[in-house]
């Protein structure tokens, strides 16, 4: 069910955000399958460039034993989202068995894939496509290349694979399909549900504020018409007038008292309520972030995730605490005011009420207009912050190259630029609001102009408008401005809130890619046997980082992973720890596929020491016992001693209680490394991964670390990645990785016996360097 939903979302993304079909047109598919004698299309990709590099629509299709390219015979122009069956397609096909090689020539935006048959004969086919189609084309290419290497790869549903490939970059930029603003808003408001009591109280208080705000102007009018004028005209006695007037004053006092008491309740309850909701969202977000797989973190920028937990939840607090109530009550206020004005005097009321929608609309339009200014200012602001985030961490380089003046000049130029942009914004709004207020005041003047003749009355006739009504009217008119402003900006407020909500829900709705099956296996204890069976893997779905890697490692063996950078060494270790799942093949621990294991339990048996050890802000002790918070001081010291860390730690003024600082910055590289080894020793893993653990330290420190490592690796299955081959002297076997393949394996001596081998060459080079 979940899969279906994801596929449906992918298709919706393709339909909504691109101008290409969400699946291969039926007619094109029929043409291909017809040419194949009815055999089905297993995978396909859109080929969106023609030979002249114009946008086009052709389809690359993969069948059980054939490859085809479907084109429209006389087509020209652009891919369109159509699925019509009456189009004619021509399929150019060739058998898979004729394929001998596939060659991709990547370009800035156009890639070329050449299907090569017999050397020196014309290529079987050549297709060109933009990066948008690259993942889908890569799916086809992967299956064919695996076949060339003698492996068969099962293919899933062709439509799903295509839609997922095209939608992936958009989904990665925006996991939710936007547009369901109402649904997002509703979901956000549902967070208020558990605080129903407070919400009702806040709303009631806000309603009272709105209601009683209408009373003072009415009282003023009543006082003039029913007390002041009758007393002045001698119709009412001064005593009676005084009594009623004081009652009015008292009523006024009560009104303000009630209003402010309600304001207090409203502000306090809703502010607190907003904080609770923001807290709930933050907790939920952080819990969910902990569950997400590493793949998610490689796709999202850290800053963007921090913003979601901090600023976005804060913005939602503001919206829930005040935005919702302000917006709804402003609408009520505007309607209430209009009703009161029309009931007081409908003619004057119309003069005041009719322009209100126009004012609200102009505020809305002004907001839209300002949006362009804000985008421009935001872009220029990011240029300013770019310099800061570039130069402050790189200040040593700036100083070393004596570039302070140039950097200051660069910053000043951008600073002036962004200031101009902000001033442009100020110029716009400082013009708009006075003009708008002038229009509002013009309405008030119009009210005066209409009211005057009726206030004064015709000769020998009673005035048709009382002074009290007029005064009430004027007081009410001043109350229009606030709600108008809120209503005019409501679209922007809601948009900002839904954007934040979207960003928060996007994280909450992302499912971890690594999920345990319902009844996972727990290996107790893990022996430490590790096997890769024909494993292929790519991080981005385009580039295969591992291609058909197979090996078996016995418990207690130490394996040195060597080879050029980008060869796939770290990826091997990532798959052992099941940070990612394989694309093809299987990784087994003690004979059981890691996808069947309890991931948490598996990782508790795996220790990792990285080139750049990551220490958390806290004491040395906290870091050593990160995996075992319950470890006793004795065990912590024992681990530190085994890691050759004890001596330097006790020399620190605060010993094991020393705060290591953010990422361990208060310690040197070698010290951080030894703390991380102590952490791994205390963790006591069955399988240990050492990723370039000694590469960033001096010789003396390296010797210390090497000693510690020797103690650490004893009795465990170890995978050690190293560029310096000398650090792998204890390895039982060496695996040489190159371009995603395991190209050589064996002991140091065995590998050296192959003089043309990759290892022998690497070793030769390092020996030359060592000799100098």
């Amino acid at each position: 069910m979940e899969r279906e939903t994801q596929n449906a979302i992918d298709r919706r993304i393709v339909e909504r955000y691109t101008d290409q079909p969400a699946r291969m047109p039926v007619a094109a598919r029929e043409a291909v399958e017809g040419a194949w004698g009815g055999r089905p299309v297993q995978l396909y990709a859109l080929i969106d460039l023609d030979a002249g590099m114009r946008l086009d629509e052709a389809w690359l299709a993969l069948g059980e034993s054939q490859v085809a390219i479907a084109r429209r015979p006389t087509q020209r122009g652009t891919p369109r989202a159509s699925d019509s069956v009456d189009e004619t397609w021509e399929a150019q096909t060739f058998p898979r068995e004729r394929l001998q090689a596939i060659r991709e020539t990547p370009g800035l935006s156009g890639n070329t894939l050449t299907f090569l048959g017999v050397p020196d004969e014309p290529a079987l086919a050549v297709v060109r496509y933009t990066h948008r189609q690259r993942r889908a084309v890569e799916n086809v290419r992967f299956v064919l290349e695996q076949e060339l290497e003698g492996r068969s790869v099962p293919t899933g549903d062709a439509d799903d694979a295509y839609a997922a490939s095209v939608a992936a970059p958009i989904r990665e930029a925006q996991a939710l399909v936007a547009g369901k603003q109402g649904a997002v808003l509703w979901r956000l408001l549902s967070y208020l549900g558990r605080y129903r009591g407070q919400v009702i109280l806040g709303f009631v208080a806000a309603t009272i504020i709105t209601g009683v705000s209408l009373v003072p102007p009415w009282l003023a009018g009543y006082l003039i018409d029913e007390v002041v004028r009758p007393v002045q005209d001698g119709v009412m006695s001064v005593e009676d007038g005084t009594t009623v007037a004081w009652l009015m004053v008292a009523a006024m006092a009560v009104v303000y008292l009630v209003r402010q008491a309600s304001a207090l309740i409203r502000l306090r309850y809703l502010a607190i309520l907003g904080e609770w909701v923001a807290r709930d969202l933050r907790t939920e977000l952080y819990e969910h972030l902990q569950r997400l797989s590493l793949g998610f973190y490689s796709r999202k920028k850290t800053g963007s995730l921090i913003t979601r937990v901090s600023s976005d939840t804060d913005r939602l607090w503001d919206f829930l605490a005040f935005g919702v109530v302000d917006a709804s009550l402003s609408a009520v206020m505007l309607m209430g005011l209009s009703a009161v004005l029309l009931s007081l005097d409908w003619k004057l009321g119309l003069v005041m009420v009719v322009p209100v929608p126009l004012f609200c609309w102009s505020i809305y339009k002004h907001g839209e207009h300002m949006n362009r200014f804000f985008i421009r200012a935001w872009r220029k602001w990011s240029r300013v912050t770019d310099i800061l985030s570039d130069t402050i961490p790189g200040m040593r380089v700036v100083k070393a190259f004596n570039q302070e003046e140039r950097e200051t000049g660069r910053f000043n130029e951008r600073n002036v630029d962004v200031t101009d942009e902000f001033n442009r914004i100020h110029q716009s709004w400082t013009t708009f609001w006075p003009v708008l207020m002038l229009a509002v005041h013009a309405t008030t003047v119009a009210v005066w102009a209409f009211a005057m003749p009726r206030l004064l009355g015709e000769p020998n006739a009673e005035p048709s408008l009382s002074a009290g009504t007029f005064v009430s009217f004027l007081l009410y008119t001043t109350m229009f401005i606030g709600p108008m402003e809120v209503i005019g900006q409501i679209a922007r407020t809601v948009q900002r809130a839904t954007t934040s909500a979207h960003r928060v829900f996007e994280v909450l709705d992302t499912e971890p890619e690594i999920v345990d099956r319902p009844d996972p296996v727990r290996l107790e204890p893990i022996e430490g046997q590790v096997a890769f069976e024909d494993v292929s893997f790519g991080y981005d779905g385009v580039r295969q980082v591992l291609r058909g890697v197979s090996f078996a490692v016995k418990p207690g063996e130490m394996i040195g992973l060597v080879g050029p950078s980008g060869g796939g060494k770290t990826t091997v270790t990532n798959l052992i720890a099941r940070f990612y799942d394989v694309t093809a093949g299987r990784v087994a621990i003690d004979g059981v596929d890691v996808r069947e294991l309890d991931t948490g339990h598996l990782r508790r048996q795996i220790g990792i020491v990285l080139q750049e050890p990551y220490l958390f802000h806290g004491s040395v002790t906290d870091n050593i016992r990160y995996g075992h918070p319950e470890a006793t001081p004795e065990r912590v010291i024992e681990a530190a001693k085994a890691a050759n860390a004890h001596d330097f730690i006790v020399k620190l003024p605060l010993g094991y209680d020393t705060i290591v600082g953010e990422r361990g910055q208060n310690l040197s590289g070698g010290e951080r490394q030894r703390v991380s080894i102590a952490r791994a020793i205390l963790h006591d893993p069955r399988i240990l991964i050492l990723d370039e653990a000694t590469s960033a330290v001096d010789t003396e420190t390296e010797r210390n670390i090497q000693e510690a490592m020797d103690r650490l690796v004893a009795g465990r299955t170890v995978f050690a990645i190293a560029h310096r081959l000398s650090t792998l002297h204890k390895a039982s076997r060496l695996f040489v990785m190159k371009e995603g393949r395991l190209v050589e394996s064996g002991t140091h001596e065995e590998l050296l016996a192959e003089p043309d081998g990759v290892y022998a060459k690497l070793h030769g080079l390092q020996m030359q360097l060592a000799v100098g």
């Binding site: 946008l55 652009t78 800035l108 935006s109 020196d120 960003r503």
Partner: protein, 162 residues
Amino acid sequence: MIRLSEKYQGLAELTLERRTDGQLWASGDDWAKPVRVHRCFPWSEPGRFLSLRDDDGEVALVGGLDELDDPSRRVLESAIAEAGFVLEVTRIMNVEEEVEIRTWEVETRQGPRIFQTRLDDWPTTVPGGGIVIRDVAGDLYHVADPTGLDGKSRKWLWAFVD
């Protein structure tokens, strides 16, 4: 300046041809191999410093097209046109913002196209002139002369160019 990689030094002049298999082949006296062309400065020096490479690394670095004989030059010209292909924007019909992404509806020299950029991924100015917009899939859209676009396009683009 054609600088052949060390292993091909001392060999005859470089010639380039597009063979029947559709690939670009570089050859010398007694060697020939399929190569790909990479431009060292795709924006600032598009026709110079062209690195011809195979899977093992650089075969030759061609300083400029005029250093090759006519047939080789024509072959290399077409190869760099292909490698440097970007969509050339001629008109902007709409730019719309949504959560996290901005959708552009444009007319390009190659045909109409709708694409998305991340909200914080701004168009960049390129040394050769104009601006370039990178979409979420990595495709590049070049606006060679933003001031030469029609008024409506310029209005859409205003917020994104200086």
